[in-house]
Structures are given as C-alpha cells and as structure tokens.
C-alpha cells in the first residue's frame, strides 16, 4: 500500500492518465488485449511502414471516412472464407492504429481477391480495394517477410505477367480448373474459340495465349514496368526473379536494337523477322 501523500502528481500528456490510478496500476488485463503485442523492433518498422503509407497521396485520396456500416465486409467474397474484412482495415486506418495496420498487412491483406465490390458499394465512397492494393504495394516495397512468403508460389505467374503481359490463357478456362464458375465454365470452354474469333483484334483471336505481344511490344511493356518501379520493387522480395527478368529484358532489347539497325541499313530479310509482326 502506498501513502496518498507520496503520490507524485506529474501526469504525462496521454489523456488516459487523467485517471491517476492509471499511472499506478498500468493497463488492465482486458485493456492489454487491445494494446499492441509487437516487439520493439517490429513496432519501429510498423511505425515507419505506416508513416510512409500515410504520406502517399493515394492513401488520403482513397480513405475518406467510415460509417461502420459493414456493407464492404458483407459484400466481400474473401470475408466469406477467411477471418478478414475490409471494414476492419478501414477502422484501423481511420484511427491511425499503426500496429494493427502492420498486423493486418502481415496476416490478412492477402486474402482479398481485388474484386472491387467493396469500393463500388461503400456509401462513403472509400476506395477500399485501392487501399488494399496500396498496403500490398508497401509490403513489397518494405520487403516484409509476409510478402516474401505469400508471393513465393506465384513466381511463375509473375514471370509470365511481367515478360509477356499474360497471366492466364483462355484455354485454361475448363470446368475442372474453374469449378466455381459452375455450368458457365463448360459453356465458355466449349465455345471459347468462337468467342475469341469475335474479338476485333487480330492478336487476340487465339486461345493458347491471351494476347501475343510482339517483340517490340514486349520490350515496351517491360520498359514501362521498369520505369514505373514495379520491377525494382521485386528486388526487395525476390532477388533471383528480379535478375532473371532483367536478363530477359536486356536480351530482348538488344535483339530489337539489332533488327532495327539492320532495317535502317536495308539489310533485313523477311526470314530474320521474329514470328510476330514488327511495327518498325
């Protein structure tokens, strides 16, 4: 027991300390649950993560306010299957709870399938799916361990997307692989070639590839990815993949330069052209 007279009346700024007993006893057990559980090192990283996130202009554009209505979470297909909900994220953001945002980024943010239903329906017009994308972007930028782990199985897809601009090919749409589409997958797979032929773009009228990037297009595409910093951010989470993509890029660029040079000198034969049409 302490003597009342000996209690020093110097109170910290934190409004919780207006209740003097708080300074004496510290947080109650039930409060502890809500306080962050991060280690000293993680807390520092979490704060840094939040600060750079919050200084991104998109963050303040996408995050507007929240009625706590739950329309986003109840519309969310991912929330149906995982302990995840966009309202939870928006609430942490509205309160600036950086430890929770950090935890959310590590554990939950990857559950979203980026369907944008939440953004479309939010009565406060929050760009919720955009905020999720932003969290992921910063997770990659910061090279968070969770981002490394979650993206590891997607190396092949990353490689095809970043080098050819294709993720899935139309002939991959089969009833077995797209069971969740129900009868529609069967319908689509049966008539896929007809559907594709109806697209008024030559390069897309095939089913073995979503669209065929010519050499020049592929080089342009990768240049854009590099200039936009997409490839650079890969460096933090998968150095090998980064090196591989850069190698491919350098090789293609060089090949393109050679062809261009020959063309300008008038030395180019038809046979030397790559299989795709080249827009010189």
């Amino acid at each position: 027991m302490f003597e009342l007279a000996t209690v020093k009346l110097s109170l910290p700024e934190d409004p919780r300390y207006l209740d003097m007993s708080y300074a004496e006893q510290g947080p109650l057990p039930e409060e502890m649950r809500n306080l962050d559980q991060l280690s000293e090192k993680d807390r520092k990283l979490a704060l840094e993560f939040y600060q750079s996130l919050a200084s991104d202009f998109r963050y303040n554009e996408y995050l507007r306010g929240c009625l706590n209505c739950g329309v986003c979470t109840s519309s969310c297909p991912a929330a149906k299957f995982y302990d995840f909900g966009p309202r939870e994220m928006i609430q942490y953001m509205m309160r600036g709870e950086y430890d929770k945002i950090y935890e959310f980024t590590n554990e939950k943010v990857w559950a979203c399938v980026q369907c944008y239903t939440c953004s479309m329906r939010c009565p406060f017009n929050n760009e919720i799916a955009g905020l999720i994308m932003l969290l992921r972007e910063y997770a990659v930028k910061f090279g968070l361990e969770s981002a490394k782990q979650i993206l590891a199985p997607y190396r092949r897809i990353l490689l095809t997307v970043l080098t050819t601009g294709n993720q899935v090919t139309p002939d991959m749409i089969q009833p077995e692989t797209f069971a969740d589409w129900g009868p529609q997958a069967l319908e689509e797979s049966k008539n896929m070639d007809v559907y594709r032929k109806a697209i008024p773009v030559d390069l897309m009228q095939r089913t073995d590839i979503g669209w065929h990037a010519s050499l020049q297009t592929a080089v342009e595409l990768m240049t854009i990815m590099i200039e936009a910093g997409v490839i650079e951010s890969l460096k933090n989470i998968d150095k090998d993949l980064y090196d591989m993509i850069i190698d491919i890029y350098e090789e293609r660029k060089q090949f393109l330069e050679e062809i261009k040079e020959k063309y300008q000198k008038g030395e180019l034969n038809e046979e030397e052209l790559p299989d795709s049409w080249l827009d010189l």
Partner: protein, 360 residues
C-alpha cells in the same frame, strides 16, 4: 382584401399555409398536381403518425376540410404551374391542367410547398426491390397497414420481418449524403404496428445509427424494445437474394462482432427509403427560378434566419422541398410561410437587403 397568394402543393405544408392565410382573410389559389388534396400522406395512405401513434387522417383531414370548404380558396387539382411572369404588383401565373387547358391568375405572392418524393429503391439495384418478391419500401407498408393488408405474397402475415434503414440516404453511391430524418422513426413505428398485429412475429431493424431525436427517443426506440421486443442489429445490409418459398435472404455484417457475416432469411423485408426533392418540386423550382442547395433541395434565402423565404422576391417556401421534414415540421413551416407572405402582401416587407448570405 383583393390580394391573392398562390400556394403550390396541397400537402401538410401547403394546406397549413392555406389555412393561416384564409384565417387572415387572404384569398388563396391552391394548385395541386394530384387529383386529391392532402399530399404524399394522403396519396400513399399513411397509417399512424409517429411518435404519438395517432392516425394520419386525424392531422391532415381538418386541414383538407378548410381548403375544401372555404370560399376564399380557389383550387386547381391535377394541375401544375406552367409559367410565372413578373407583373407590376406581383406575378402572372399560368396554370396547366392534365388536359393541357391553361388558366391565368394574378397573385401578389407565392408559397411553394410542393414537397418531396420518396427515394425509388430500384436505384439501389443490389437490393432487388421490384424484382425479388416480398421486398417493400416503408412507403408501401404504410398503405398495407392502413388497408389492413399486411401479408406476404403467400397470403399470410409475415413471421420474420427485417427493416433496413437508410435506403437512399447517407449513401454516396446514389448521390444522397444527407440523412432523411424521418425514416428511423417511421420504421420503428411500423415495427411496433407489425408487432401489434402479428405479436409472434420476429422483427429486426438493421441500422447504423438510430435517429429518433428529441422527444421521440423513449416513445419509439425504447418503447419498441420494452413493449414489443423489436430486435436491433447494427449493420447495413449489402444485398438481398431470393430464397426458397418466396423468402428473402439478407447479407450483412453484424458490426458489433468483427468480420461476422450474417446470411439470414426473412419472410418480408422493408426498405426505409428516404426523401428526395423529386421531379414535381424540381419543376416548380425551375418555373420559379429558384436555386438548389448542395443536396438537391431548394435553397432558402438564409437557412438559419429566413428558412421559409426564397431567393426570389415574393416567393416563400414551406415543407420538405427545402430538406427532409416531419409532418409537424411541415405544418409549422406552412404557418411561418403564411405569416411571411402576409407581411409581404400587406406591408411589403422583404428582408433581402439586410441579409448578407455568405457563400461557402
């Protein structure tokens, strides 16, 4: 006195203004778009009024009676204002009826009281109103209650009812970011009426906030729980699906429990659709050359000091065309607008000069 005042709209506000003007021996030209007097409460056949749960007709019928019987009131029903021209001592108004017949009246002042329209819930397409059976709006339920025909499509009284608040209000996706003020109270009142008629029914109200402001809190929000065991679930429903046997399945989040999704069937779902200016009042605003405020309602000269005075000299405003109102608010405004119009036609008082309206 030979001065006349034109009142546009024969709802609670217009009728209340009419009655005051008649009491002060002013002649009234009353123009109503619909065939009958009484406005939206009559047209949609409102049942009981909140918070006292008295029949709507008890309030509106005496007002209608004055308008119908007073020799000072000249009525044009099924008619709209076609054009308004300024003349030397007031306005020259042409009134067009359904048969396109045009009549002209000369008046000294105008009271616009053309009211609101209920939000059309079909615009919230994910709710499936008009497509899925057994989804109604509070404006439909009023008629079902007063005609004593509260049944589902299967012809039986509903056993499980969900009421969803804030449909078409507080929602940027439909462009209405304001609160419609009355729908909480109306919904709770309907919940109590339903429980009174079908005592074993389960009634759940899905809400974000309950706005039974002022003296209505205990008479509605508390009483509905104390006496009727109406359930309140905090969360806004995101979509409805058609369930078996004409049930409606709701999808929502119980926001009191993190990430807890609700997928629950009901026999009947009621959407608490809000208020909008509506096409009728928009046409009136256009003809009178009145400006709208940011929510799409008509902008008074000074919303704090002169809420019933319009931007145009000689034109006054009453009721829900300046924003969502209860019936008693509208009646009060009708009385206030009548007073202002009387001052104007008898003494020429117009406060425009002394009011500096600050632009936002």
């Amino acid at each position: 006195m030979e001065k006349k005042v034109l009142v546009i709209g024969a709802g609670p506000a217009g009728l209340s203004a009419t009655r005051e003007l008649v009491n002060m021996d002013v002649d009234v030209i009353l123009v109503e778009r619909e065939a009958c007097l009484g406005g939206t409460p009559k047209k949609l056949n409102y049942s009981l009024l909140f918070p006292e749960l008295r029949p709507a007709s008890e309030v509106i019928d005496p007002l209608i009676k004055v308008a119908k019987e007073s020799p000072r009131v000249k009525k044009y029903v099924n008619s709209i204002i076609d054009s308004v021209k300024e003349s030397e001592d007031g306005f020259e108004v042409s009134i067009k009826d359904k048969e396109q017949k045009v009549s002209t009246e000369r008046v000294s002042a105008i009271i616009a009281a053309s009211g609101f329209e209920h939000f059309d819930s079909r615009r919230k397409y994910e709710y499936g109103y008009g497509l899925i059976p057994n989804i109604y709006q509070i404006s439909d339920i009023e008629r079902m209650l007063s005609e004593n025909k509260l049944v589902t499509t299967r012809g039986v009284p509903p056993k499980r009812v969900a009421i969803l608040l804030c449909v078409g209000s507080r929602d940027a996706t439909v462009g209405n970011t304001y609160c419609s003020r009355v729908c909480c109270a109306v919904s709770i009142k309907q919940a109590m009426e339903i429980k009174e008629r079908v005592p074993d029914a389960i009634v759940h109200i899905y809400y974000m906030d309950i706005r039974t402001y002022g003296l209505m809190e205990d008479k509605l929000y508390w009483r509905s729980q104390l006496e009727h065991r109406v359930g309140y679930i905090r969360g806004r429903i995101s979509e409805f699906m058609r369930g078996p046997n004409d049930t409606v399945i709701i999808k929502g989040e119980d926001t009191m429990n993190l990430n807890r999704a609700l997928v629950v069937p009901y026999d009947m779902v009621i959407l608490a659709n809000g208020m909008e200016l509506g096409l009728g009042s928009a046409q009136v605003a256009k003809v009178l050359g009145l400006r709208l405020e940011e929510h799409g309602f008509i902008k008074p000269l000074d919303p704090d000091r002169l809420p019933v005075v319009s931007q145009r000299k000689g034109v006054f405003l009453a009721g829900a065309l300046t924003g969502p109102k209860t019936m008693s608010d509208s009646i009060t405004e009708g009385q206030a607008a009548a007073m202002k119009a009387y001052e104007y036609v008898t003494k020429g008082i117009w406060e425009y000069e002394e009011i500096k309206v600050t632009a936002h």
